[in-house]
């Protein structure tokens, strides 16, 4: 009898101190702001949908504010939105950071006022002003995936390829490119030669022109790797319009629905992505949990994020400082699975 009491008491103490600390209680009213790199990109719209789904499940009576700058004004716009949100005294800001470390002063000011700052998709490089980063995938793994796709497309004889990225300040793309360069050091990829990196700023026209410029400058490249959902589509169309689909292939990170025609025609035989809807969902849960005090932004904290299961905050191995929550897997799309994915 006393043994059972002891066990029950131990269990109760255990749950109170550690396990149940991650229980997220729905129904609390928290002002949340979702801030993408800028408006107008489909993947961010998907993240928005995911966040709305989470909001519904958590029964948050205060509606989510989805605010973003325009691509031309992304950095200053993001800083302005964070500053304004701080004045309004919101509960949490979820930002896909396009401003590098320039956003640190504004983010720190928000934290000073008790606002939780959660980054998703793209973190604050120095981790200052940030509570936790919700990472869609492990950034070092992305590098290896991109290297693998490049190898599979160019074949055993390898060849020259180039990278078409987004903004030169985008923390996520820069980390992915860095990790791909690291991965390429493996002798398996010895025949793959990276000749150039250009930036399309996630803008259609610019990416289109940059893709064409790449082919103009390096007429013998065999692949353009574009780890940006806007760049990959623009590059694919550029190759298609120029009749180069046989000579130059496209790969990178893209949305199945946007890449359907190009994968079927063989211009983009392989590319990868994860679920942005899930990312938005998870970011919302994380921010809500932090804002309502269910968890603290420290290493080891765990919580249950609705339908996605348990998540734990760990140290971010890809940055000097910073905590992260790793979301999970991504999918490689090719002719076989793209139709099903695009229909979703």
């Amino acid at each position: 009898m006393s043994k059972y009491l002891l066990v029950t008491a131990a269990l109760a103490i255990g749950m109170a101190s550690g396990g149940l600390a991650g229980d997220v209680t729905p129904g609390k009213g928290v002002d949340m702001v979702l801030l993408p790199k800028f408006l107008g990109i489909k993947v961010f719209d998907q993240a928005h949908q995911g966040a709305l789904e989470a909001e519904k499940e958590l029964e948050n009576p205060k509606p989510l504010k989805y605010l973003g700058p325009t691509p031309q004004n992304s950095v200053a716009g993001q800083i302005e939105i964070v500053t304004n949100a701080t004045t309004q005294g919101v509960g949490a800001i979820m930002i896909s950071n396009n401003s590098g470390d320039q956003i640190v002063p504004a983010a720190k000011a928000a934290q000073a006022k008790g606002i939780k700052v959660v980054t998703w998709d793209s973190p604050i490089p120095s981790a200052e002003g940030e509570d936790v980063f919700v990472a869609q995938v492990d950034f070092t793994e992305i590098g290896k995936v991109m290297a693998d796709m490049a190898l599979s497309i160019m074949g055993a004889n390898g060849g020259k390829f180039a990278i078409l990225s987004a903004s030169p300040d985008a923390a996520n793309q820069n980390a992915w490119i860095a990790s791909m360069k690291e991965a390429l050091k493996d002798p398996k990829y010895a025949k793959l030669q990276l000749v150039d990196i250009v930036y399309g700023d996630d803008q259609q026209e610019k990416s289109y022109n940059q893709a064409n410029a790449l082919v103009d400058k390096h007429p013998d490249i065999k692949l353009i790797m574009a780890p940006t959902s806007v760049g990959i589509v623009a590059a694919a169309k550029a190759m298609q319009d120029g009749g180069l689909g046989d000579k130059v292939k496209i790969s990178g990170l893209g949305l199945p629905s946007e890449m359907l025609a190009y994968t079927k025609s063989g211009i983009a035989p392989e590319f990868a992505l994860w679920s942005f809807t899930d990312l938005g969902y998870l970011a919302y849960y994380t921010a809500y949990a932090l804002a309502t005090g269910a968890i603290k932004a420290e290493e080891g904290a765990t919580f249950k994020a609705g339908r996605m299961g348990e998540y734990k905050i760990t140290k971010d191995p890809t940055r000097a400082k910073g905590l992260r929550i790793l979301m999970g897997p991504f999918t490689v799309y090719n002719k076989d699975n793209i139709e099903a994915a695009a229909a979703k």
Partner: protein
């Protein structure tokens, strides 16, 4: 001295609009008149309003300077590139300021000396100086300035005010005294009213215009440097599109686009109107391009309304006689 009668017209209208805008904003957000938000209000557009002061003088003299935003960008970029190359910060700041002065004088030379229309010259400058800035910095951003530099743009040093805000007020006084209280100011108005007459009266039109453009470039460079301090870093495309706000602030303030009339109080009031409008829109979660389109509408109205009033007044007079 501004006659009380004048106060009834344009400046009075601006004051009324200002009161309405502030009232609407206060109703929307209780924090609005707090010192934090007021400083924020100025900070978010501080660089634009600094340049608006010299733009006032340029427009009064009958010219226009479309290249100010590009000079801002060029100076900021030069600052960043020099800093990155290892040049000590104070020297880099000086060189950046001089570059703005040089750009302004370059503009001024073609307008004053060669007699080309300022619209075309400064349009070329808008494109050219921005391009030059991109040549230096390519697609990157340069940050990591020394802490004391960031403090200038971001920290509240004198009480709750930042150094940028102090600079604005000092410059405001300087321009006010020059335009309204000095001989030079009267000459600028004269040039704006009738350039030919001024020239025949012995006014050194070319020299004055050259100086005005030089000052415009220098102040634009200063604003660009302050912008870099506020953001903590510089890019090739910073301050793009700022000329719209700057010109609107001046024209809304009652300064005629044709030159020769307007006063600094009006510009000060219109600056307050536009700042409050932008801040209010920001707090109402209206962002970026929508805010800019409102400013664009204001720009058109600031010339349209006086035109209409003038036509109505003349038609009214015709009816009476």
């Amino acid at each position: 001295m501004i006659a009380l009668g004048r106060l009834k017209s344009w400046e009075g209208l601006l004051l009324a609009i200002l009161v309405v805008v502030v009232a609407m904003n206060v109703m929307r957000s209780p924090y609005y008149l707090g010192i934090d938000n007021v400083v924020n209000l100025f900070q978010l557009s501080i660089e634009k309003i600094i340049v608006a002061l010299t733009m006032t003088m340029i427009i009064v003299s009958g010219e226009i300077d479309l290249s100010v935003a590009s000079i801002m960008g060029l100076a900021a970029v030069l600052l960043g590139c020099l800093f990155k190359a290892g040049i000590p910060m104070p020297a880099a700041i000086l060189i950046a300021l001089l570059s703005g002065l040089a750009a302004g004088l370059f503009n001024g030379f073609w307008v004053a000396q060669a007699g080309l229309p300022s619209l075309a010259v400064t349009l070329a400058g808008l494109i050219g100086y921005r391009g030059l800035a991109r040549v230096f910095i390519q697609d990157h951003s340069i940050g990591g300035f020394p802490a004391w530099f960031d403090t200038i743009g971001q920290q509240r040093t004198v009480g709750p005010l930042t150094i940028s805000i102090m600079i604005f007020f000092i410059l405001f006084v300087i321009v006010a005294v020059t335009l309204h209280g000095s001989g030079l100011g009267r000459l600028v108005y004269a040039i704006g009213n009738n350039t030919q007459a001024a020239r025949y009266a012995g006014v050194r039109v070319k020299l004055i215009k050259l100086c005005l453009f030089g000052a415009s470039g220098l102040v634009a460079a200063l604003a660009g440097i302050l912008y870099g301090a506020r953001l903590g870093s510089v890019r090739g495309d910073i301050a793009t599109g700022f000329e719209l706000d700057i010109i609107t602030m001046v024209l809304l303030g009652g300064v005629s686009i044709f030159g020769g009339s307007g006063n600094i109080i009006g510009v000060g009031l219109s600056i307050l109107v536009i700042l409050n409008l932008r801040n209010g829109m920001g707090l109402a979660n209206i962002t970026g391009d929508t805010q800019t389109s409102v400013v664009g509408a204001l720009l058109i109205l600031s010339v349209l309304v006086p035109n209409l009033m003038h036509t109505l007044k003349t038609k009214w007079k015709e009816r009476k006689t």
